[in-house]
Symmetry: D2
Subunit: 261 residues, 4 copies
């Protein structure tokens, strides 16, 4: 590595007297005048978000963070029960389940919506036609449509509705929200049944329409889930259920292998 | 397990039509009217925090989240460079460094301050005497005093100063802040030198004086660090330095074992 | 850091032509002539183990690695179901449960046995008396006796019996095995009931008597568990049960918080 | 879930008196007569491997496990320095770097070799032609050829040579080893330069030719790396270098963001 190619970071520069973050003086410019969500946006984008963007971001984190004993919370509570010396380890175990199938769905939806919007703009086509084409393509590839369908919320996802209504009340409505509606409308003709618009679909729609960069979408579930995991692990300290969860699940499983000779 | 001892959780109860969180209807009561920090407080305590508590919590998260290429950020960036298919895995790797030595220090300080305050109240003693006794005890046990001393910020930690000043401007001042000052004042006579009050000392002082429960302290660094890690990993996507960091560090290490015969 | 205090490692030194590990030439001296267990011992101790040590180490890893759908396996399978792009992430989630309560128990037993043996040697006391004192001390501190008692194997742990018998057949018997027997014998008088000697008690006894260093004990469960986790996650690819486990467990839990107003 | 679709596992079935693993009685059939590598093979495949398969498996684990201060080891040592209460957490952090770029390469090579062999068999084509086609396809897709090229071992990788020679000495030679040689030979004409055959290429070649199932390939680096990480973390206890590594790396990085106004 030569002097001209030293590695760089544009995020932070701590010196003995000052901590510079994204061009701000942390102590002077940020502490006390910036909320957590706002700061996350500064960290990722390098710029102060608008007040509307912060509101949308907060609403998204709140909408997604907590949904009871989902698999990642169960994994974390079992981990903490077995390893109570490391709360942060149990949080890490929970975050490891924030992958493509569950929480990564926001990320996939963001890409889907962005591509439909781009497609419609580039070809001067209707959003409806582009959404139909995108859904048809997913169907043909036997891949699920992200952002719709939930095993529990089969008729409506109240979180998605609340989030879209809130964004509308802030004047945040745009092509990505319309693309999402078009996706939902395109599904019955292609799949033969309606699929419910869910929170991990609504989140990228309102964030993208609020001007939040698509690439930062994955931060939302990770921050929200960290909050949820800490709450569950503190409850586990007082009301341990981690081992009971594992026992209950274990009782439901049969051994299907051979018996010893 | 009998019917009378079924495991319970008081955090959330999702049903097809409604997601109940801590007694609130998530869609109706929380989405759109609650910030991320406020929601974290609801999740942990079951109650809406005061507006002042939310402000203090936000300031603490902002103060602690980002400090450049600290070990946990480096670990996460190296992990992501080697495993770019799993951003959440690299976040988890980073959080695994949020242990006792670095980020756990807030937690330790919380316990120290709470015990000094309790001690002073119980024995009608002066805060100064109780702080001296506590510091002396740590010294005798050869354990470090948490909340003071930083390898970079040797003269002052601007984050701690900003946080304490902000809390004071909100009227948040109380026994834990005084206990912290007493700890700092007690050090020179016992250690023979001044140690700087740092941000992981100021955070528990202001949170406890704001009425935030001590046990939830560990959530602050974990939430803040998750935000920071996401920002660093998104930067790593564009400006990869993970392998360069490992190369640079590796060059500084000598092999001290035997040579092959 | 000055030139005289450069960091060092004695484990490995890769050069373009040669990889030196613990003073051996990896390609010339180790590949093809060393088993996995033997290599682990070389990595940790810097020396080739005896053939008996390798046999004991293999038997310990085999005894501990697999025990069905224990909490850490369930956590890993749930994690993999939600994040199938990262098998190594699910292994990591499983290992995060290899903490003090479950797998760390080998480590705790090792310390207990070592201290009883040391005690008996130092004071020329009987192993029985030293074991009784140690058990009494744990009881007084309300801490569990490590290495005994299992929720499933209440009458006998066949793994512990097989391991001790195998070690005996190799001539590996010594003070730590005797100390373990003394601990088991001391329990009824102090606890009012017999507790079964379990595999995580037998492992440190035979390893220590075989001359394996106590500090390396924690490697045994981690290596064994990694093997088990990989097998379970490959099964999860073909026969997914991760979400079913979470569903089954979730059904057993009641919400104990308030209802929304 | 109805009674007919209860989840199943074929790996293990512990009862009070017996632990059944893959149809074997763990205590009677496996402890004492099975090495760690052999047991891993039993766990994954359900069958006892041949003695040659065990030898190849051991050689592969030994060849891959340790290579000095690679990024995942550095990440683990930094994590442990910051979180010394959780050795298993630091192992998990290290394994999180066992992803696609570094250790996943064995997995990718396995797929490449299997597809070339299948291709040659199906079309009665020459291995050379099929390898050329496969390499050309990777080149066109701008994807790296797995199993070749190393930043340090630019002329030869002694581990790969030793492993292939050992396998040959065992009579393990077959289509996958020939496919690998064909890949290496195809590269110069397509890339304009020779690329060195490396250990993560040799491992899948010999394992597949030994009849080890391709899907289990990812276990090799994970088991080996766990062994290596435990050794490094025990060294870190005595000779801490985790923070020194982070300091050294941090000094090489420049801040490229704006200065505060």
């Amino acid at each position: 590595m030569t002097a001209t190619t030293r590695p760089t970071t544009a995020i932070a520069h701590p010196t003995p007297d000052q901590v510079v973050v994204r061009g701000f003086d942390l102590a002077r410019d940020l502490i006390g005048s910036t909320t957590a969500s706002e700061y996350f946006s500064v960290l990722v984008t390098g710029e102060r978000p608008t007040s509307t963007q912060v509101k949308v971001l907060d609403a998204c984190i709140v909408a997604l963070a907590e949904h009871g004993l989902v698999p990642s919370v169960q994994a974390a509570r079992m981990t903490y029960a077995a390893s109570p010396e490391a709360l942060h380890g149990a949080v890490a175990a929970g975050l490891l389940g924030a992958g493509s199938v569950i929480l990564g769905s926001s990320d996939d939806t963001a890409r889907l919506l962005a591509s439909i919007v781009e497609d419609a703009a580039a070809n001067d086509g209707s959003m409806e036609a582009c959404a139909r084409a995108a859904v048809q393509e997913l169907r043909s590839a036997r891949r699920p449509v992200p952002g719709v369908g939930h095993p529990l919320h089969r008729v409506r996802d109240p979180r998605a509705e609340a989030l879209l209504a809130y964004a509308e009340s802030l004047g945040v409505q745009g092509p990505h929200t319309r693309a999402l509606a078009a996706v939902v409308d395109a599904i019955p003709a292609i799949y033969g049944r309606r699929l419910v618009l869910i929170v991990s679909g609504a989140i990228p729609a309102v964030l993208l329409d609020a001007g939040f960069p698509a690439r930062a979408m994955k931060g939302i579930p990770l921050i929200g889930r960290t909050m949820s995991l800490v709450a569950h692990l503190l409850e586990e300290q007082d009301t341990p259920i981690g081992f009971a969860l594992a026992d209950a699940a274990g009782r439901e499983v049969d051994y299907s292998g051979p018996a010893p000779s």
